[in-house]
Amino acid sequence: MRDLISGALKGQGADYVEIHFEESQSTSIAYRGERLEEISRARNSGGNVRALVRGSWGFVSFNHLDGLRDKVALAVKEARLASREPLKLFPMEPVVDTVIPQLKQDATDIPLSTKKELLDSYNDIMLSNPKIQSTRINYRDGRRQRTFASSEGSYIEQSKTDLALRLAAIASEDNEVQQAGLSLGSDGEFSTVEGLHEQAGEVARRAAALLSAPQAKGGEYTVILDPVLAGVFAHEAFGHLSESDFVYQNENLRQVMVLGKKFGGKHLNIIDDPTIPNLRGSYKYDDEGTPTKKNYLIREGVLEGRLHSRETAAKMNESATGNARAINYLFSPIVRMSNTFITPGNASLEEMLGDIEEGVYVKDWYGGTTSLEMFTFSAGEAYMIRRGKLAELLRPVVLTGNVFTTLQNIDAIGNDLGMNQGGGCGKGGQAPLPVSNGSPHIRIRHCVIGGR
């Protein structure tokens, strides 16, 4: 295959050409209530060609490698349709390498019967709670073997596994319906999803308790976020703003996101790091073949860096960071996060709670989205804080705000970093991309909570 690909890359009249090819397989299991509703396996193979001519891209995706030279020629023709400013990609040394994951217990090798037995046991626990009307379990594991080759001489083969699980319980009484859930994942290590029996019971208890919980009164509060939700905040509210494809052609936004600008207190550090071993967002080379490294986005409250592809780095005169990722061969790589987190400070949760007269403690995530400066995310679990103590359970709440104001309003950062590997990230129609995010507990003053 290497000869075939190398041959197709030659003499095509483009400034740069790259070819991706991948083979993947996956297993999905879904429960709804007592029923195992869907169990399926999939095998996919396909690839794409990306060609750069005078600053514009052509892209062709395909299922079969035959006629590869013609596919390259079509991508070059497409690229010639546009005429943007000529562009030199951020320079890179060609890389030849092979990357294979090291796992103790690879989920893709575990027999289906073992997976089913385990999920059955979680489902039984949740359903045994009398107030639980139904459940949802979604399990998915998969493996992708990718080959990347460029006209600059890179040839990289990478294999990556991924695993995601969500358990949810739906409680109902009279005409009320409430739900609670738990999301987690791993780099394919199966033990991550084992032994969750106690948590499954807790999910059911929480859904049941929500039936009689009051709704928060909408308005401004002092809010404490748990590590999961604070991680989502780091990812959604700030992480996406650090993706340079949002910034590089937008002069106004460039002025907002000036390196060296102060965004928060000295205690605030936000990092994106694909090199941490064994997290869902970890990888050695991105989908442009760029080797990865640890990137400070905010260091001591000051904007220090952002996430780049080779194109955005060249346009902004900064360095490529290894964050160009594509969810599969049907898409071009775009700037994405990896493992994004707020580093720990020194406050304990008790200290943070201590001087709050009335506030809200929000835990766990249910979803989150952002439109550059504005973010909203919802907490799976919320409690009132009264006179420095956790008080009654609340219905799920939605938090919203302006990220710049909110970062300045973080007045305490905990000492208890936790990484969340549930869910996945969506951008430009590419979802869910394996990422992780994390944080210690953080406290935010003047945060708007939606409610009735």
Partner: protein, 439 residues
């Protein structure tokens, strides 16, 4: 068809019943980023799904690209050991009423012409607001859908697709304004650049000034885009046969009951000529149809696929859909919400203080199963004494569709398509909870 028949032959050796479903598609999306043409793409893909009943249980596998027949059958057999019981038959139909879903003109539109359309649209928007940054996507595509099953069922149709959409961002210091809209159809001549440009320019015009609304219960007008972004997710979840079957839908025992405003009707229609969501048969080979979901506020039907229908003791409504080629589930084709008699202008004039919601961010995050909607108003305008005075910021709304749609103040006269799959008027509601920063 040849490949499908080969898979079916091989599967029949292992299974009591088998079904092979395949989609081949080719799309050409053209993307403009920050007012400039960024990328032209050609995407080709073929995927095949095999569903079998083996020893009374359902097995399912999919493959794209080089996946060989043997591997596909093997995976389906493996999953069938644990699959749910097969309580239904694959349909034996072959004669489907014709539904127009293909326009050969789509393939004749040159990439160069699509580039021109994108440029014209951007030029019109920048003619109004020169410093706006527009991301535009112009897409044409065709796909071929076919299936065959062991019960004699067989079908094939072609579909074309054309769409044009724009998202604009206007950044001033740390203030960002997002506008946007789009059009799509199976017929390229139904996609109209001028009307699209007019609607986006209207958004920019209304958002020129900023205004602050009060915190509290306020009347709210949802524009057609607002209806799509705020209200449809909880409703569709409740009408999904699966939600009804498990007893989690608030509508589960409401068939025949008045639940919504009596002036309002909603139906799902797979037979609309050149509708993006239209089809002669669904992804399981069941005929597409026009299905009333509620009529004059009275709940009439839920959406079913074959498996869910058999478990619920009813018939498929022709709504079996395979998102991304996956396992069939109940889903909508095209939704139509009936229009009313009040012009948008009169709704605005009726308001003393209120909010117009165009785009809601994070609307699907709350307890949508219970009918809750809520989120940040990404694009919305304040109304004061019957006039739109400017765009709101840092504002959240929260409500429940069953409360809000039970009694509407009025229903708009003008209806339009949003995203090619929902046709809706403006809806004027009272008593939506609004919270805003600093009040």
């Amino acid at each position: 068809m040849e490949h499908l028949e080969e898979v079916l032959r091989s599967a029949r050796k292992e299974a009591e019943q088998s079904e092979v479903f395949s989609v081949s598609s080719r799309a050409t999306p053209i993307q403009f980023e920050a007012n400039e043409l960024k990328q032209v793409q050609t995407k080709e893909s073929t995927s095949t799904g095999l569903r079998i009943f083996r020893k009374g249980r359902i097995g399912f596998a999919t493959a794209s690209g080089g996946g060989d027949v043997g591997a596909l059958v093997e995976m389906a057999v493996e999953t069938s050991q644990f699959g749910s019981p097969s309580g239904f038959q694959f349909p034996f139909g072959q004669d489907y009423s014709e539904v127009s879903t293909f326009d050969p003109e789509v393939d004749k539109i040159a990439m160069e012409r699509m580039v021109e359309m994108g440029k014209e649209l951007i030029a019109r928007i920048r003619g109004h607001t020169p410093d706006i940054l527009c991301d535009v996507q112009v897409t044409r595509g065709t796909s071929s859908i076919s299936f065959i099953n062991s019960q004699g069922g067989e079908g094939k149709y072609d579909k074309s697709f054309f769409s044009l959409s724009l998202e604009g961002i206007l950044v001033r210091d740390t203030d960002m304004l997002f506008v946007g809209d789009g059009e799509s159809s199976c017929r390229p001549d139904f996609v109209e650049t001028d009307g699209l440009a007019d609607r986006i320019i209207w958004q920019l015009e209304m958002a020129k000034k900023k205004a602050a609304v009060s915190t509290g219960l306020l009347p709210v007008i949802f524009t057609p885009i607002g209806v799509a972004s705020a209200l449809m997710s909880p409703l569709m979840l409740a009408f999904n046969g699966k939600t009804v079957l498990e007893g989690a839908s608030p509508l589960k025992d409401k068939l025949g009951e008045q639940v919504f405003d009596k002036r309002l009707s909603l139906w799902d229609d797979a037979t609309i000529a050149y509708g993006v969501g239209s089809y002669p048969f669904d992804d399981e080979g069941v005929s597409g149809r026009c299905l009333p979901l509620f009529t004059n506020g009275v709940v009439t039907n839920f959406l079913y696929d074959l498996q869910t229908a058999s478990l619920a003791g009813t018939q498929s409504t022709g709504n079996g859909q395979r998102a991304g080629g996956g396992f069939p589930r109940p889903g909508i084709s095209s939704l139509i919400l009936s229009g009313g008699d009040v012009p948008f202008k009169s709704m605005v004039e009726d308001m003393k203080e209120g909010l117009i919601v165009e785009q809601l961010m994070g609307a699907d995050q709350g307890n949508i199963l219970g009918g809750d909607f809520g989120g940040n108003v990404l694009l919305g305008y304040k109304v004061e004494n019957g006039e739109i005075v400017g765009r709101v910021k840092d504002t959240m709304i929260a409500g429940n569709v069953y409360q809000v749609l039970k009694e509407l103040r009025s229903i708009g006269r003008e209806t339009r398509w949003v995203g090619g799959i929902l046709q809706t008027p403006h809806l004027y509601c009272s008593g939506v909870s609004v919270s805003t920063k600093g009040s």
